[in-house]
């Protein structure tokens, strides 16, 4: 999941009886499956939760370009390079769709950037791991984008119109990402022994961080219950994680790769795989800024923003000057 820890500000879930008439009418619309649009009345908590979730999601898309960007100049063929470039460009596009959706809720783009750059806003823990070999690009497409799709498909039905529409666009494009990753893995797995080893090594390093993408078990989290009541979230973190494991393990078998989990076992009774627990201490460390690449990622992002300031200001100055000239010419 690209927004792994979203707080709602709610202490507990209100029953319909405890809501004031406006809140009750709002909940009624959600329950009937109506989409909520930006200018319509909404509870403050709904607005804040969505801003948090959508901006976290957008930040993840933007920061997510960095680990892959590392391999654009190192891709093994010109075709692979062009494909990776297109994929990374999609991630930028996804970030932009999502920032737009968040802005309809009354937060400005600059405010969101400021939250990201100052380290106050979160983004997905997955992008704080290094991309050490070309196989990592395969593993990211296959596993990370695979996990992202798992999370994003239900979000297309989110109650907030602009978020739901952004997710529909994103899901249409995301499938290319996963397939290009799997294609890289297939090529490596059919290759030399060294290439197969490289693929296995990438799976070993990316498997657990990918499972962490869905966030910790919700248990009886108030935030989760509230987000589900508001239809901002549709499935629990554990449900999505299970679905991901069930889908991905047969793909690893197909590639003849070994998933690095000694507890992984097919459970005939449940019709699902049993699997081990991710290292949640590691997750909380990484999400709160202490992962292997947090500093590097945020540093690269801040540098790009600062280095681009003169371009943004220059273009704006040009636009103002041009507008003034047009007004003067019209007055003559």
């Amino acid at each position: 999941m690209y927004a792994q820890l979203v707080k709602t500000d709610e202490k507990r879930l209100k029953s319909l009886g405890e809501m004031d008439p406006q809140e009750r009418a709002f909940q009624g619309r959600i329950d009937r499956g109506e989409k909520i649009e930006p200018k319509e009345w909404m509870p403050e908590g709904y607005r804040k939760t969505l801003i948090r979730q959508i901006s976290q999601h957008a930040h993840s898309e933007i920061v997510g370009q960095l680990p892959e960007g590392n391999w654009i100049t190192r891709a093994p063929t010109l075709e692979r390079k062009a494909i990776l470039l297109a994929k990374v460009q999609d991630e930028a596009g996804h970030g932009l769709y999502l920032y737009c959706a968040a802005e309809t809720l009354g937060i400005s783009r600059d405010e969101m950037f400021e939250q990201l750059h100052s380290g106050r806003a979160k983004y997905s823990s997955i992008f704080n791991y290094p991309t050490l070999s070309w196989a990592d690009i395969g593993a990211i497409g296959w596993l990370v984008d695979g996990a992202a799709i798992m999370n994003q498909v239900p979000l297309q039905r989110c109650s907030f119109g602009p978020y739901s529409r952004a997710m529909i666009r994103i899901c249409k494009e995301e499938s290319f990402h996963q397939r290009q990753g799997f294609d890289i893995m297939m090529k490596l797995c059919k290759g030399t022994e060294a290439q197969q080893k490289m693929a296995q090594d990438a799976l070993e390093r990316w498997w657990w961080p990918s499972l962490m993408m869905f966030g910790p078990a919700d248990g009886d989290s108030v935030h989760s219950a509230q987000s589900m009541a508001w239809k901002i979230k549709q499935d629990t973190n554990d449900e999505l994680r299970q679905k991901f494991v069930d889908q991905t393990v047969p793909q690893a078998d197909f590639l003849d790769l070994k998933v690095p989990d000694p507890d992984l076992k097919w459970n005939q009774e449940r019709g699902s795989y049993d699997f081990g627990e991710p290292d949640w201490d590691e997750f909380f460390q990484v999400i709160s800024g202490n992962g292997p690449c947090n500093e590097e990622r945020l540093g690269a992002r801040v540098k790009a923003w600062d280095d681009g300031a003169w371009v943004r200001e220059g273009l704006m100055a040009h636009a103002r000057k041009h507008a003034r000239r047009t007004t003067l010419a019209a007055a003559e």
Binding site: K39, Q89, C100, E103, R165, E313, L315, M316, A319
Partner: protein, 94 residues
């Protein structure tokens, strides 16, 4: 002075013969750059044959609270739909 670029709404004609449809928004310093950015953000897969951009601040929208007075009067005028009228089959296609 804030250097945040203004917001533009983007409308795309998907195919010849269709209306332009709102697809989203983006930031750009001026209209020309808004069109260029819209091409990169919204038509990477040939989703359009034409782009319109308009400054978001130039759009006037109806207010959600007026929804009733604006649209409800049509409820009682179902005769505007052809299915309101019973025409015998013998009269032929109409």
């Amino acid at each position: 002075m804030s250097s945040e670029w203004p917001l533009w709404e983007v409308f795309i004609r998907g195919q010849h013969g269709l209306n332009h449809r709102h697809v989203g928004s983006l930031h750009a310093p001026d209209a020309e750059m808004a069109i260029r950015n819209a091409r990169d953000v919204y038509t990477r897969r040939k989703e359009g044959v034409s782009i319109w951009v308009v400054r978001s601040s130039e759009i006037t929208a109806s207010s959600p609270s007026e929804k009733g007075p604006l649209f409800d009067p049509a409820d009682s005028k179902i005769y505007r739909h052809p299915s309101f009228f019973d025409i015998p089959d013998e009269a032929g296609h109409m």
